[in-house]
């Protein structure tokens, strides 16, 4: 099963067209293996990218070096996925007698 320990989802807030294209470049840097959750559209809209643990430092340095603001939308994706799975299993257990 693919797991995502330490993967973070960053919400990047482009300020201008120049930053938009820098973020677009980030999407193309396949070595970072970022996964676009919500892609580049226009300045007023955030870009969400999932960054594997091993690329986090590079990506954050890249963003900070370009003065691109970002927040951490999901601190550790695997933690949230584990919660989702537990909730599904608990709800399924609850539903079992009824069915």
């Amino acid at each position: 099963k693919v797991t995502f320990e330490g993967h973070q989802v960053l919400r990047i807030l482009p300020k201008d067209e120049a930053q938009l294209s820098l973020i677009k470049n980030l999407e193309e840097m396949i070595e970072f293996q970022v996964d676009i959750w919500m892609g580049v559209t226009d300045v007023s809209n955030p870009v969400d990218v999932r960054v594997p643990f091993q690329s986090l430092q590079f990506v954050k340095i890249y963003l900070e070096a370009q003065n691109i603001d970002y927040t951490i939308m999901i601190e550790d994706l695997q933690v949230v996925l584990d919660e989702e799975q537990e909730e599904m299993e608990a709800a399924a257990r609850l539903a079992q007698p009824r069915n």
């Binding site: 919500m38 559209t41 989702e84 909730e87």
Partner: protein
């Protein structure tokens, strides 16, 4: 299906059982059509809501074409129950179903969906291997024969927007293409994604505006106004290329070019910071608000035959 828990996420087998149960409970309104099979051999189930007649003008709704967008399959399941519950009670839906058919494909990418449960929750594409590459899967929303292979789709099998070796190469897409062509009387086609909160109309592959752009734009505005009336969820709307980005080989560009005027793509919520991992307690509110927008589009389609 009254005891089905719409407020939690379900596995593919639970959704498939729900479909069969719904058909069994509503034999005079709902039937199941298998329009093909996925690469791994799963049936592509389409629920047909019909009160009779032959080849009536029809409305198509699909959810789950990108498998990780779980709130869409969950909403699709809720829509199915809503239709059987409201037929005969809600005048507008009753009027529509007395003249038109509604086709609903809840798990449009079943291999991908099963894979999000079994192996990789973040899986988006289909699951067919790509010869010569270690990466599997095609983006089923870049595989349609409308501007296929143009900008906004990748030729790299490892990309999340990989277009595929040729248009309609994926059975999940080809099955819908064949069904829509053989039916020949679809008047609206709605494909549902998440999570950017948008209502989009053609085109994605070209800046050339759709012939019906003004009408589609006005209807989109009405639809998202209705949607926002329930929980205040704010949507953006417009053509794909002007609202998000250029994307070629997309579903509703193809359906619009087949002459299906009311072709729309939804991007459902996340209103917070969960993205694809939307908490299950937001499934029903998401489905409820989306239904208001769907009804706006279906009502307009019903009132403006062409």
């Amino acid at each position: 299906t009254d005891s089905f828990d719409f407020s939690r996420y379900h596995t593919i087998s639970e959704i498939y059982s729900f479909q069969d149960m719904l058909v069994a409970e509503n034999p005079n309104l709902v039937s199941k059509i298998v329009i093909g099979s996925s690469y791994e051999g799963r049936p592509l189930n389409v629920l047909k809501f019909s009160t009779g007649g032959t080849n009536r003008p029809a409305i198509w709704i699909d959810t789950g074409i990108h498998s990780r967008e779980w709130v869409t399959q969950a909403s699709g399941t809720w829509f199915a129950k809503k239709i059987v519950t409201d037929y005969g009670r809600d005048p507008a839906l009753t009027a529509i179903l007395n003249k038109m058919d509604i086709f609903l494909e809840i798990v449009t990418n079943p291999d991908g969906f099963a894979y999000t449960h079994s192996s990789n929750r973040m899986w988006r594409k289909t699951r067919k291997p790509n010869p010569g590459s270690s990466c599997a899967g095609v983006d089923p929303n870049r595989n349609w024969d409308s501007g296929f292979g143009g900008p906004g789709a990748s030729s790299n099998p490892c990309s999340e927007t990989y277009r595929g070796p040729r248009a309609h190469s994926e059975s999940e897409v080809k099955s819908i293409v064949d069904f829509v062509k053989s039916h020949g009387n679809f008047k609206a086609f709605i494909s549902i994604h998440s999570y950017s909160q948008m209502l989009l109309y053609p085109f994605g592959y070209t800046k050339t505006p759709a012939k019906d752009q003004a009408e589609l734009h006005n209807l989109a505005q009405r639809a998202i106004t209705d949607l926002a009336s329930l929980y205040g969820t704010r949507y953006r709307y417009g053509s794909i290329i002007n609202t998000i980005y250029q994307a070629s080989g997309g579903t509703i560009d193809w359906t619009y070019e087949q002459g299906i005027k009311y072709s729309y793509t939804f991007e459902l919520r996340d209103t917070g910071r969960y993205g694809f991992i939307l908490p299950a307690n937001q499934i029903i509110p998401t489905a409820q608000e989306t239904w208001l927008a769907l009804m706006a589009i279906m009502n307009h389609t019903y009132n403006n035959p062409y």
